[in-house]
Amino acid sequence: MRAVVLVVLCALGATAAAAQDTAIVIQPDSAGFMVQPPELPHAVAEDAVRRYNAATTTRLVGRSRLPHGNEWRGDVAVRNGSVVVAGRVEGTLLVINGDAILDSGAVITGDVIVIGGTVARRPAAAVTGDVRVFTAPLAYRLKGDEIALAPPDVRRWLRRLGIEKSWGTADSRSSLTLATGGTFNRVEGLPVVFGPLFDWKLHPNVRLRIDALGVFRTAGDFSHKRSDLGYLLRTELRAGETPAYGIEFRAFDDVAPVEDWGLRSGEVGWSAFLFQRDYRDYYLSKGIAGRAFVQPERSLRLDVDVRHDWQTTVRARDPWTVFRNDQAWRPNPPIDDGHYTTLAGTVTFDTRNDRRDPTAGWLLHARFENSRSKDVTPQTGVPRAVRASIPTDGSYAFSRLFLDFRRYTRISPSGRVNLRLFAGGWIGGDPLPLQQRLSTGGPDPLTGYGFRHSACSGDIIDPAFRDTQVAACDRVILAQAEYRGHLSLHWSYGSSTPEDEGAKSLFSLQGPDLVVLADAGQAWLVGGGPGRLPANRLPTLGSWLADLGLGIDWGGLGMYVAKAVTAGEPLRFTLRLDHRF
């Protein structure tokens, strides 16, 4: 009896031990480890909807089965369920958000198209046409017996308002687009782009993309040198994903921003549209450009750009805004007109674990530019106290260098420290033209200071620059640090069982980040004389502008309050639509 009890106990013990070991094993190094975030090509989605809604298509809902010896005539579409086919389908089989299992004996005379699922087929199953599988599900809504595409992603749509009509397949796609292009600003108003886009898969690993877009400026003709229409012709040939390499050619007639390294484009646009505060200056750029890039691995990318363009001054118009519409816009400052040829090289090393919301990793970005102009027409209103004369004998050349280093570090389960060092500006050659000069001040990156607090433009008194707050510095340096502590709105300690005795507290993260921030930086003129620094010197720490602040960041939507610590500035509030950096 005792022996029987021991045997039973051993068996139970083994069972219990086996039960305790029940776990799903994740092998991080194995292939196919990650379920990729779904993204169904628009053309495929439209094609699926068209096929499903076709009058000749037999529609089935839910799990379906065609037994051996049976036959479906005509195209068949199944949605929201798997289909097991052991019989004959005289047509195309479309499965939406389900799997297709083709048993032995299955015969399909058309194509098999599976969206949001997989295909399993026995060797004996016969498919006359193509088998196309898209693992991403189809987002649709019901319209009676038919289906229609679900509403588009509202956030993406808001970021780039517009409509796009596509044709083709996943391999090759043609689209006609009508959308906003870029940012609402005081020079163009709301630029609207329209035209066709082509994307062809030339080879399993090679894609060719061609965009031919017109740009309509709603604010009207602003230069008296051209029409209200601009354009962007772009063609890109790309091979591979990682490693990847490719070339690009562009022809453009575009409004380009001066100093685009502060606030994001979306923030600048909404600020201008709502509050009539445009935090950028602009110039017209018309020309051609070429680019070659290589990305040997996911984290590393090298780019070489060549650009030849005509850059010219544009005036601010008076586009309508929601608030302060009766006030005058800040004038757009003039630039040094001319044809410029620019050669640039960019190195990007990016190990961030998440591009949108990184919590760990590095971003190292370095860019060197060398520009030349044979016909530059310098603005005469810039005194020598700000910059030396620009040669007009065809020898004008200058170089700029930009470095942007960021480190994202988690220091506790809910706490992170993010650091950024940014430096850039003149590195050699003749003085910089006005459109390549720099400044610093609020609302980004120095939140505690006013817009272009340090702009080196105090000596520019020419009427052409009145009220422009033109950025005129040669160099800028900036250090930013922030601590992010997650405010856990639903946190509780979990009960510990003997098995997880060592586990620490459990908490859920559904609240915002509390941000404690500190910024310091300065912009300055390079050279000899009062108010300037030699090229091999940095401003002394005592002369840096600095601020401290607090903020709440809820997935990018943030509100910050900051106070300058080196000058008698008021407390400043800033609303952001994205993380600071």
């Binding site: 799903i24 809902v61 988690r410 389960p413 639903h490 509780s492 009960s495 620490k504």
Partner: protein
Amino acid sequence: MKSGLAFLALLGAVTVSRTAAQAPALTVIVQGGVPRVQTTGLLSDGKFVALMRSGFPLRLHYRLEQWRSRSGWFDQYISEAPWDAVARHDPLADDFVLIRTGGIVARYGTPEDLERALELPYRVNLKVRGSGNFYFLCRLEVTTLNDTDVRIAGLPRLTLEARSETFSRREN
């Protein structure tokens, strides 16, 4: 009287216990240097079940990070392992489909069965190399497959984060 109070206390304890058990939770346990990740109570409040019955598939995105604990301010990020699971409701069969990493598909008749399946722990073979003090940090994001729409519509979205105990490893 005493027995009545004891009954009330017991009832209260059971209620508290049930409430605590219903809160979604994520744990990371280290056994022999190998992390085990487990979620509990994900579906207990019914929000996600209702969402699935309305045709929204759920996506569970796990990200397990390995960290080296250091004496200074900054711990060192070493590596990470992400994986996913997708759960949806099949309206005709009135059951729930769970697709795990690697395409393993299983069907469950009730939300409770699905929840039990979701509570099955993951053993992640994230190798710990070198000597020092280490810990694991896991983040789970539960969203619908078109999560950007969900945020706009105000539908539920859940993020859980948990950290394991710190453990030492010495390399010979």
